[in-house]
Symmetry: C2
Subunit: 505 residues, 2 copies
Amino acid sequence: MRDTGLDRRTILQGAAAGAAMLGSASALAASGDTKAIQAAVEKGHDAAIKRIQEWIALPSIAAENRDMPKGADYMAALAKDAGFQHVEIVSTDGHPGVFATLDAGAARTIGLYFMYDVKQFDPAEWSSPPTEARIVDKPGLGRAIVGRGAINQKGPEATFLAALHAIRAAGRKLPVNLVLVAEGEEEIGSPHFAQIVRRPDIAAKLKACPCVFMPFAAQGSDGEVSVNLGAKGVIECELVATGESWGRGPAKDVHSSLKAMLDSPVWRLVQALQTLVSADGNSIAIDGWNDRVRPLSAREKALIAADASASSEADMMKAFGVKHWIGDLAWQPANERLAAAPTANIEGLVAGYTGQGGKTILPHKGVAKMDFRLVPDQTHDDCVAKLKAHLSKRGFGDIQINVSGGYDPTETAEDSALIRTSLATYQKLGVSPTLNPRLAGSWPGYVFTGAPLSLPAGHFGLGHGSGAHAPDEYYLIEPSNAKIAGLDRATMSYVEFLYALAARA
Amino acid sequence: MRDTGLDRRTILQGAAAGAAMLGSASALAASGDTKAIQAAVEKGHDAAIKRIQEWIALPSIAAENRDMPKGADYMAALAKDAGFQHVEIVSTDGHPGVFATLDAGAARTIGLYFMYDVKQFDPAEWSSPPTEARIVDKPGLGRAIVGRGAINQKGPEATFLAALHAIRAAGRKLPVNLVLVAEGEEEIGSPHFAQIVRRPDIAAKLKACPCVFMPFAAQGSDGEVSVNLGAKGVIECELVATGESWGRGPAKDVHSSLKAMLDSPVWRLVQALQTLVSADGNSIAIDGWNDRVRPLSAREKALIAADASASSEADMMKAFGVKHWIGDLAWQPANERLAAAPTANIEGLVAGYTGQGGKTILPHKGVAKMDFRLVPDQTHDDCVAKLKAHLSKRGFGDIQINVSGGYDPTETAEDSALIRTSLATYQKLGVSPTLNPRLAGSWPGYVFTGAPLSLPAGHFGLGHGSGAHAPDEYYLIEPSNAKIAGLDRATMSYVEFLYALAARA
């Protein structure tokens, strides 16, 4: 998942908020399969750990073009091994994905979304080698697999696969059929995922599903779960100012004394950037950008208020090293803004000499790495067009906008079967989830929730991990907090969910 | 020399402009010492090359704190070896310098300025190892020493030392006494050089000199020489915006989705930067910055006009990959601006994620590496104060201004003995120099030309090299163009100059 970096549940101690309850025993309990499957899960424990570790040993990184076809082959092999009968590598204009189907002869078919890629990493920053996936004692947390992809997303995905293995090993049939779509470009903004999902035969298979979900270790470090009803969209891009495309300033880095007679592409970048936002850097000033921003509904505000009142502002400030929210907002309006506001963020600036000390050059090029978060009813393509038009109108048409990835916001209705079944299953599993109207981060759910599929899509699963995109990423195997599911309980959470999805009215 | 990166002579084919002529034979010729010294120079040729090569093998880099005390010791040993009787390491608040005197029993004492440090380098960018100082055939140029410091400034400095060795080897006494001050922080803006020059006993020795000069391979690739009557001052600094010092935004890099509730130090940096210059990035908008800018005199404009009319605008545009000068100026006003205008330049921008692709973070810090070039009568300290006041007045007082180096502009009068003797000696050596009112780059001549010493100070020497601060920096030993002095002729140019300085009225 692209944006677990913001794991609000590790910070925000929310109260349960109106999860729909199943009145009686769970579908799994009713089936009588629990004991046999539970035994198979326990028997498969070591193999399940090995499955995660071996997957982590092959890091596929789209940004670095590292082991991409290999990663797709590996994903396909994992699916085949877990019982998918049809498994196919799907080529795109970028890196390949995987499409797989498992026909269990069931009445209902459920969609699954996987990613096989991971974020870049620098081994020097890690306390254990990021591809060795060692099992480490994390003080206060328990025993965890530490490695790139442990939580984002190989650990939870492999745990879901362990559930399939266990059901088969227990001699049971899956209660649902499965359609799996997996991509290898999630970490670069899923630029070609729609090409996989919208291939007519694949789209047809997905269209027959009532919902799509991604395995996810949803528990915070306190064991609580927040179910997201949507997520912001995103545009990731570089704004690049160069002497070449401008036709002014130098075409290569030259001595800085020449600034007296030469224009500077870096100053041009600075001047263009500052037109994009308000003076405080917090409101987007791109022409028309906010036209389609839909205000929060009363229900959304109520959910946020419940969450905010039950969580600690001081803890969150401490976690981020922050003394003030934007505009000195109070805690609740700051949380509303987190859900409601589109953002324009500079991820990075790169121009000229970036090493130690200084170097007297006039650079020919300046780059701003940016991400824009989008809220309903904004769309990726409309916003890219508005950014281009804004710069062009102000005479900055030469500044290249290199969009590397991104997609529309995603929303799933609170009363959809997916959300209701998720909430009910969490309750059965002893967790009282809260509802979050919108994740401030992003995932490419739009490809399922938007036209033409228009399916409910979200995440599900017990377990805990952290450090997505950061060093020492981990996934807890044996948590010291009894509220958090370890590997076997997390595996059983997927079994519960599949039975519940099969049984729901 | 800090700013040979702008070697206008390699571009601008200037005509000789009013160099003062000595009517008769040169002072050296009149002394009858020529033959003996010339023979000693030739005999010392191989040793002189070895001296350059061995010096290059010890790169002292202040920005990297690399071999700094070693470099000072080496400089001291070179001086001792060349005949300086008193040689002393001078400690400063930064890296040490060297003070040395050579008493030849002569009537007159001349000041010398040396630097022993070199610019940073990346061996991967070089075609031969930068510290090996190999002798390489440069097509169209001749045989050259290639290495870091070859032209900037070890080659010319060691060539001057070769002249001292030759005079002694020929059994002749130096016609002048010498006072040498050397620093190891030239490449970081000479932040502590004044501490050396202004030490009372050193200042007293310098004060007794009629002038100070630095050895310099002054010939362009066409063999022509331009004598600079001054140079711009410089401020090198970093502007640093952080969440910590601002008290807003995060104190560490956090997930970019948090931009919806957190301020961004990088946007703050962008907004602060854009207040420093006009919308086109070309005029400085810092309050009061231009108050002390002295317009060019009629004589300065005439010198520039002569230079501009004799040089090729098209060649210079091609050399820099440029299609327009600032404000679409014509060639002559562009050259006037080069000499007359103070500059604000962004050397580099560094914030957040600077690697391949993107990374969804909200950085806690943004840095702009800047250099400001100053013209008379601006001063370094006054301009730093104005920059601080400007930012502070606009509410950007938290943005740190980390000044790493810099100094005032420098000027030497056209009718000073130094300039007149330089021009006359070049003429005797068969070169017709042009006069350049002001180098657009910078060197710390202010420490000599400013109060309290108020001495003429400049550069002198034949020879050619290029690539200061760049890969494959070189110094020609055997030029293929007969107009350019090779190592031995360059050595003799210093002998000529010392005799001329001794003899002048």
